[in-house]
Subunit: 283 residues, 2 copies
C-alpha cells in the first residue's frame, strides 16, 4: 500500500525532523508532502476531515512499549490502519556548526531520548541533561537561540532541517531500538501479501471472557501477534482489548472468527487489514 | 494485611501531599511514617535495601490506564505485592489564603490533573493551564513563590500541607476516577480473605502461546481480573504478560495452574497473593 501519487498529503505529530517525518519519508518516498501537527488529535482530525489523505503515527516502541494515547484515538475516530513500517531509531548529538564536543555543557531531548543515551551523556564531563517536549523541538531551539554551549539529541533529519552539525552518530545505548509506525486513512486497504489485521473488542461480563474471546482465533489457527489492554472510561477495572492477528479479514477463517467474536464481545471494531511493515534504518 | 506497628516506614513517590501519601494514610492509618521520594526507582530501592518496610505505588488509573514504569520495576526488583487499595481521586483548586477565584490567571498541575479538570478550567475567564511535574509539586510552588495570580489542582492533603485554601472542591469532570495502589514488601503476604494473585510470564515461541498460557487458569475456573503486556527489552515485538487472577496461590488449583504455566512459559515470576483492595474516597 505504498503511495505513488505526488500530491498525497500525510499528517504527522511533531516538529519537522521528527522520527515520524522520517518514517513517513521511508514509507511514502521523498515526493510526498508531510504536514507537521502539534498534537495527535490534530493528526487524526486531518484524516477524518479529509484535510490529509493519510496520517503516520507511532504506535509502539520496542524498548518503551505502546503509545497509549494513539490506541485510545484509534478506538474513538473513524479511521482504518492501511500500512505499517518499523524504523530503527538512531540518536545523534546535534550542535551548531563549529561547536566542539568539549564546548557542550547542556544536552536537550525528549525524556526517552535522554534515557536511551544515558551512558553517552554520562561520559561527557560537566554536562547536564534537560528534558524537552520533543527531540526535533530540542534541535529547533538550539538553532533558534544559537546556543554554542548546548546540544540536542535527535534524528539526522533534524540536523539537516535546522542546519546543525552531527557531532556524534548513533549514541544510543541499546541499538535494538525500533519504533513501529502505522498509516491511517478513511478507507480500508486490500493488502497483497503478508497481511495482518487489527481488532478492538470488549468482553461480556462472563467467566473466562478473554480466554473465550481469544479462542475464536486460536481454534482457527490464526496467530495473535500482540494484545494490548486499555481502560474503559466510566467503567473502572473494565478493559478494551486491542489485538493484532496474522491474517487478512477477507479470508473465510478470519470472517468466521470475527463473527464468532461478535457472539462473545459486548463491543468490537475492525481497524482493517494491511501489509506487515518492513524494518528500515533511519539515515 | 494492614500494618499496626507505629514505627513502620512506608516509601512513596512524589511531594508531601501527593495522592500516594493519601493512599498510604488510608491503608496504614495515621500513625505510620510516610517517606517521600523523588522517583519510583528510589521507592523500590528503599524496600529492597530494607530502608523502608513497605512501599505504596500507583499501578493503574481507571481513566488513564496502567503506570507502565511500575510494571517494569515489579519485574526487575525482588519484591512482593502484599496489599492493595483503590483511591477515588478528587481534584481541588488550591490557592494562597485570601486569593479569590476571579484573581486566578494561571492554573498549574500534572498534565493528567489538567486533563481531568479541563471543563472547569475552561469555565474560568482568561485563565491559562500550565503543565507541572506533579500535582503536589504545583501546590508547593504556589506557596513558595507566594503566587496570588495562580492556583494549583491537587489533593486536599496538599492544601493542608502547604497552607493553601481550597477555592473549589471536586472540580474533576468525571467522578468515576480511581487510582489503584499496591503495597510492596520483601516477604509475601498470607491474605485472610478476598485473595488475588499477580503473575508475570513470557510465552515460548509456539503457535497460540498466549491462549494456551491463559488456559491454565480458565480450565481450572480461576478468574482473570487483568492482563497487561510490556515489551521485552532487547527482543523487539516480544512481550511479558502481567496477569492478576482471583485466587490465593496457596490453594491446590492455583499451585497446579502455576506448575502448568511453567510448562508453557519461557519465564515466570510470582508476585504473591494479597487481599483485594477496598475503594476509599480521599478527604
Amino acid at each position: 500500500m505504498r503511495q505513488t501519487s505526488k500530491k498525497a498529503i500525510i499528517s504527522y505529530q511533531g516538529e519537522p525532523g521528527a522520527f515520524s517525518e522520517q518514517a513517513g519519508l521511508a514509507y511514502f518516498g521523498k515526493k510526498c508532502t508531510l504536514r507537521a501537527r502539534e498534537t495527535f488529535d490534530e493528526v487524526f482530525n486531518d484524516v477524518v476531515r479529509k484535510r490529509s489523505r493519510y496520517a503516520i503515527i507511532p504506535i509502539e516502541n520496542s524498548l518503551f512499549g505502546s503509545v497509549h494515547q494513539n490506541y485510545d484515538l484509534l478506538q474513538k475516530e473513524p479511521v482504518f490502519i492501511v500500512g505499517e513500517i518499523k524504523l530503527r531509531i538512531r540518536m545523534n548529538l546535534l550542535a551548531m556548526p563549529g561547536v566542539r564536543l568539549r564546548d557542550i555543557r547542556h544536552v536537550y531531548s525528549h525524556p526517552q531520548g535522554l534515557g536511551q543515551c544515558h551512558d553517552f551523556i554520562r561520559s561527557l564531563p560537566n554536562c547536564t541533561p534537560h528534558p524537552f517536549y520533543d527531540t526535533a523541538g530540542a534541535a529547533k531551539m538550539i538553532q533558534e537561540e544559537q546556543r554554542r554551549d548546548a546540544a540536542a539529541i535527535a534524528s539526522s533529519q533534524a540536523a539537516a532541517h535546522y542546519g546543525l552539525s552531527i557531532l556524534r552518530k548513533s549514541i544510543e545505548s541499546d541499538h535494538r531500538n525500533f519504533t513501529r509506525f502505522i498509516i491511517l486513512a478513511t478507507q480500508p486497504a486490500r493488502p497483497a501479501r503478508n497481511p495482518k489485521t487489527s481488532i478492538i473488542f470488549a468482553t461480556k461480563n462472563i467467566p473466562g471472557a478473554l480466554y473465550k474471546s481469544l479462542s475464536v482465533f486460536a481454534l482457527r489457527n490464526i496467530n495473535m501477534l500482540k494484545i494490548e489492554s486499555r481502560p474503559i472510561v466510566g467503567r473502572p477495572w473494565e478493559y478494551l482489548f486491542f489485538v493484532d492477528i496474522k491474517t487478512d479479514n477477507r479470508t473465510p477463517e478470519c470472517r468466521n472468527a470475527l463473527a464468532h467474536l461478535q457472539e462473545l464481545a459486548s463491543y468490537s471494531k475492525n481497524l482493517g487489514s494491511y501489509e506487515s511493515g518492513r524494518s528500515v534504518l533511519n539515515p
